[in-house]
């Protein structure tokens, strides 16, 4: 058989390789980038489906100005900050603690880890309904358990403040396992001799954690933090089924607000504009993740 030189193959390969990439490329352009451009175009037009079947013309930045001044929009931003901030902080603390507590490869620890991971695999929309059942004021399990220890449980989903807390609880319940997993993997990769040296030198467990492990873990924990922050900001499902933004507008988040603006009120221009305001913030965070991943610490 005639053997061809490897360089011939390299050149000959390229059309094939391009053909391999094309189907995926076309789908992604059609389903992601085209709608993205479309959305940018919508953001500078006046278009409410309830008033007109066609876009009603170019309005420049008017949608953006209107949205930034809108009471509900501002409230959604505030709610998003509260919910995501609260949930992510809780998740980081609980997740890292649990990661330390579940170290080891005994069958018992593995069973515990498998159990703790379960909330993460549940569809967020189902997790929302589940907690809606649990947090029912009168007949919910949570308030019943609280009453057993003599606490009169709050009206979780009916009071504006407690509703925010409920959403934070749900997010924490479902996503602490994520931090547990990532932090667990990171802790396991710390060289054991490093810790031994510290122990021989007489450092306490706490000091070893603070001065040796935490600095090593920081880059990954920061990455996890931004990861969780983005996911939490973008989530719609759990709020949809837990509170549906209620009571009133008290748990409207950015995502929920944009969703209802666009697909319930069919106010396309306004929804697109507010989604691009949101996008600006998200892009900065994504750039941060990218930078974290590529940086050698």
């Amino acid at each position: 058989m005639l053997r061809k030189p490897a360089t011939w193959h390299r050149r000959h390969d390229v059309p094939w390789l391009i053909a391999f990439v094309l189907p995926a490329f076309f789908i992604v352009v059609a389903v992601q980038f085209y709608p993205l451009a479309y959305s940018a175009a919508l953001a500078v037009q006046e278009w409410s489906l309830t008033k007109s079947q066609e876009p009603e013309g170019f309005v420049g930045l008017e949608n953006f100005v209107e949205e930034l001044g809108d009471e509900t929009f501002r409230r959604s931003v505030r709610n998003s900050v509260l919910i995501t901030g609260g949930a992510v902080i809780l998740e980081m603390i609980l997740g890292v603690c649990l990661a330390y507590l579940t170290m080891g490869s005994s069958w018992r620890m593995r069973a515990v880890r498998t159990t703790l991971i379960l909330p993460m695999v549940i569809a967020p929309v189902a997790a929302g309904t589940l907690w809606r059942i649990l947090l029912n004021y009168r007949a919910g399990l949570v308030n019943h358990l609280l009453s057993l220890i003599g606490i009169q449980g709050p009206e979780w989903l009916a009071s504006p403040d407690w509703a925010i807390i409920s959403v934070i609880l749900l997010d924490t319940w479902q996503w602490t396992p994520f931090v547990l997993l990532v932090a667990g993997a990171a802790i396991a990769s710390i060289p054991g001799d490093l810790l031994e040296v510290a122990a021989i030198d007489g450092a306490s467990r706490w000091k070893t954690f603070l001065y040796i492990e935490l600095p090593l873990l920081t880059p990954l924990l920061l990455l996890t933090l931004v990861f969780r922050m983005l996911e939490s900001l973008l989530s719609l499902d759990s709020i949809y089924s837990l509170t549906f933004g209620g009571p009133g507008y008290s748990t409207y988040t950015m995502t929920f607000y944009i969703y209802t603006q666009g697909l319930r009120n069919f106010n396309f221009g306004a929804a697109a504009a507010s989604s691009w305001i949101f996008m600006a913030f998200a892009s900065v965070s994504i750039a941060l993740v990218f930078w974290f991943q590529r940086k050698d610490w």
Binding site: W16, L17, F25, I122, L130, L234, Y259, G262
Partner: protein, 272 residues
């Protein structure tokens, strides 16, 4: 002393996970009259499967279940096919480091930008194509998420593959396609199945796209679960039963394919 506290903390953590799930299952098998009792009925006096029976009898929920399956199967099939091919193509193109970084950034961007931005135009495009309220609209929409994700996942796998594996085949004059299908694919099959499991998982649980383009005929389970909170008040029994139907397959998945699922869910946060 320390180990006792350690044990208690872990036991409490496990209870916080298990009790809600157990309570959901109990709710799905208790009598309607026991739903809003005070105190709540934790152990039902009588076990009933009427809520499940209702789901099976209701043509609508059966169709939701079928739709969910159809969407998951198609999304997974098309994603694995195109995503794996694309990843192989990208990995063997000898792209410069800068271009590879750009590609990675695009994947990362698609994974994390506010998807709600594109949902509205996607809805309008589907309306123009007359695909609103069909499973195809859901499948196409989900492909936009799952293909980049799987491509990224597999790109890392192919990049890590030593080039010697293919060199012998190159010398023997095998074409790209032969190298891919006969040499490389069998080796990376475990990663491909991991990607498939993950895609099915994402597709089954997906809500945003499904709820924006298919609210009626082509509705899927994730939408149905959320829709029990209706104007008529909450239908506790069917809602619990439906949630169980939705959750249980994923938990079984998680128990058997835990390693794969975890790798996928934490992908991007943990290298490799």
């Amino acid at each position: 002393m320390y180990s006792v506290i350690h044990g208690i903390v872990l036991a409490v953590a496990c209870l916080v996970v298990i009790v809600p799930l157990g309570y959901l299952i109990i709710n799905s098998i208790k009598l309607p009259r026991e739903f809003l009792t005070i105190p709540p009925t934790i152990l039902p006096t009588e076990v009933t499967f009427e809520h499940y029976q209702d789901l099976i009898d209701d043509k609508k929920t059966v169709r939701y279940f079928q739709n969910s399956l159809t969407v998951s199967v198609w999304t997974t099939g098309v994603t694995i096919l195109t995503g794996t091919l694309a990843a192989y193509g990208l990995a063997r193109m000898r792209l410069s480091a800068k271009i590879l970084a750009l590609v990675t950034f695009i994947f990362l961007f698609i994974r994390f930008y506010p998807r709600v931005t594109t949902v509205i135009p996607f809805f309008l495009v589907m309306r123009q194509l007359d695909l609103l309220d069909t499973v195809w609209a859901i499948i196409i929409g989900q492909l936009g998420i799952t293909i980049p994700f799987v491509t990224w996942l597999m790109l890392v796998v192919f990049q890590d593959l030593p080039s010697e594996i293919e060199e012998a085949a190159i010398v023997d004059g095998a074409s790209v396609w032969q190298r891919f299908s006969r040499v490389v694919l069998p080796i990376v099959m475990p990663s491909v199945s991991a990607a498939a499991i993950l895609t099915a998982f994402l597709s089954w649980n997906e809500f945003l796209i499904a709820s924006s383009v298919a609210r009626r005929k082509a509705s899927v389970l994730s939408i149905a679960v959320a829709s029990f909170v209706s104007d008529k008040g909450i239908q506790w029994g069917p809602m619990a039963a439906m949630s169980v139907v939705m959750i249980v397959p994923m938990i079984v998945f998680a128990l058997f394919a835990q390693k794969y699922l975890i790798r996928g869910i934490t992908f991007g946060a943990v290298k490799g």
